[in-house]
Amino acid sequence: MANTADAAAIRLHRRTDSGLGIAAVVMVTCLVVAPFVLYPVFVMKALCFALFACAFNLLIGYVGLVSFGHALFFGWASYLAAHAAKSWGLQPELAVVIGTATAALLGFVGGAIAIRRQGIYFAMITLALAQMMYLVALRVKLTGGEDGIQDVPRGKLFGAFDLNNEMTMYAFVLVVVLAALFLIYRIINSPFGEVLKAIRENELRSISLGYRTDRYKLAAFVLSATLAGLAGSLKALVFQLASLTDVHWTMSGEVILMTLVGGLGTVFGPVAGAFIIVAMENYLAPLGQWVLVIQGAIFVACVLTFRRGIVGELASWLRVKL
């Protein structure tokens, strides 16, 4: 009896692993081919948002913390990266590092404040903090107010590769995003990630087992903010622009929508969700304000009918982990 059960468990485990492996290969292949079929800038935009959504998913999907203010990290990282590249004339890799570090710092401060309350309050606090920093962005000189920071130079990567070439830029974005996604995958499957999932399932029990859950939550928050910042910094280089749109609460809403559509707590869901929402906004742009209505309707539909998201539903249908 025990043997057959073990064998079944092992088969399931293999099936799970092969599901993830196959999905990863399919995703990477598609992304390598994509710039030859679609507009590279469009794919790069989707890639940045995919990373943003995955960073957000690290919190909502694995720690159960709903941040309604992730635009704070995305947008401010984007501002600082753009400022570093334009005003300080730094090389693109340094600009990205500065943007990401800014997000890490903001994540540490914001996280330390927000984790003082749980559940629904956490969402309201993160939203309020992000709104505060949006109002700051509206006022301070560094961000350029309503104009934002325009004409950000892409520069030469490591002083050698000219990023003004669309394909070079694409390769840079792809490598960074894939590396970050792999990092997230490793985080959620590490012992640290297991503790995070334990906190999501039952925080009080985790505390009683001796884990200092506040530290874990803060660490996860900082990681999530940092990676969101990486996405924002890349976006500043891709569009050569950092603007108020990136720090507005609608951006925080969009990243939630992407993650929800793709599937909360799935590895590939946020990536799929980001591509779907970015494509939708691209094709529906002529409809103007109706895009907002459509986004809202998707929110409602997701919550009422498929809470597992597209990838989550697919995974349960194929009985694999995706």
Binding site: M132, I256, C302
Partner: protein, 295 residues
């Protein structure tokens, strides 16, 4: 006219008055949020959009049907409250057994839908709504000029807040409500129709938001984004006050409005961030909020 801390009294009391006005809207909105949260365990993200709907419906009634402010004050909360009841029956009732997070996401989606529809038809610029004739003009009090309409808004919203507090804390219906918040199963066993109570509570909370919207219409321009601007501040107010107490929500709302008004006089740059800064300080010192019960 005289000066206080080097600020002319007219400017100081003028901003204070504006602060009190904002405070009355914060109080009405956070009161509604607290009542809804108590019964439904949902943070109603649509609250801002419903406040905006209140202002717009008042505007539309006047524009298309010639129905004046005083009638709107009664009709609008009923109409918008009715849409709230529909929303509760159609959507929120299905989420009862789920994580409160889904309620937040759903109401966020509804807020986007409502704001998008109004933006589509009315653009993002504001529409003016005239102060009713009876409340035109104002009085010169010597140290400040008091516009009649503003005085009316403060007095009326304070009255609405107190009546709500009385209804919840001191009447039989209110005691059912509080009991159902504590233990819905037990209250149902006593033969009280809890789901209906939940629906009516949501409708009532939404009606309060719409009422605030009607009162706001003559002061601010009626615009589709007026809801999302205020709701985030109200969330901060709710975090500061904590949602455990009705009176707490009212007091916090008015106080923070006044603080905001003062900041406008002394540090104009910080006036729209001051509430968020207070939120951070309160979280660091007293994480449960000023009137919160636990976390």
């Amino acid at each position: 006219m005289f000066e206080i801390f080097g600020v002319p009294s007219y400017a100081l009391f003028g901003q204070l008055l504006l602060g009190l006005i904002n405070g009355s809207f914060y109080a009405l909105l956070s009161l509604g949020l607290a009542v809804i949260f108590g019964m439904l365990n949902i943070i109603n993200f649509t609250h801002g959009a419903q406040y905006m709907m209140g202002a717009f419906v008042a505007y539309m009634l006047l524009q298309y049907l010639g129905i004046n402010y005083w009638a709107a004050l009664v009709i609008v909360p009923i109409l918008v409250g009715a849409t709230g009841i529909i929303i509760e029956r159609l959507f929120l009732a299905r989420l009862q057994k789920l994580d409160p997070l889904y309620g937040l996401l759903l109401t966020f989606g509804l807020a986007l839908i409502i704001e998008g529809v109004f933006r589509n038809y009315y653009g993002s610029s504001g529409k003016p709504y005239d102060i009713p004739d009876a409340l035109q003009g104002g009085h010169n009090l010597g140290f400040m000029f008091l516009p009649n309409y503003r005085a009316w808004v403060i007095v009326f919203s304070l009255a609405v807040c107190l009546v709500t507090w009385f209804a919840i804390e001191r009447t039989r219906l209110g005691s059912y409500l509080r009991a159902a918040t504590e233990n819905p199963t037990l209250v149902r066993a006593f033969g009280i129709d809890v789901p209906r109570l939940v629906t009516l509570t949501y409708g009532f909370g939404v009606g309060l938001a719409a009422l605030a919207g009607v009162m706001a219409a003559p002061i601010y321009n009626v615009s589709p984004q007026m809801g999302s601007d205020i709701i985030i501040v109200v969330f901060a107010v709710v975090v500061i006050g904590g949602m455990g107490s009705i009176m707490g929500a009212i007091l916090t709302g008015f106080t923070l409005g006044i603080v905001e008004g003062f900041t406008k006089v002394f540090f104009p740059e910080a006036s729209n961030t001051v509430i968020f800064v207070i939120m951070v300080i309160v979280l660091l010192i007293r994480p449960a909020g000023l009137f919160g019960r636990g976390i």
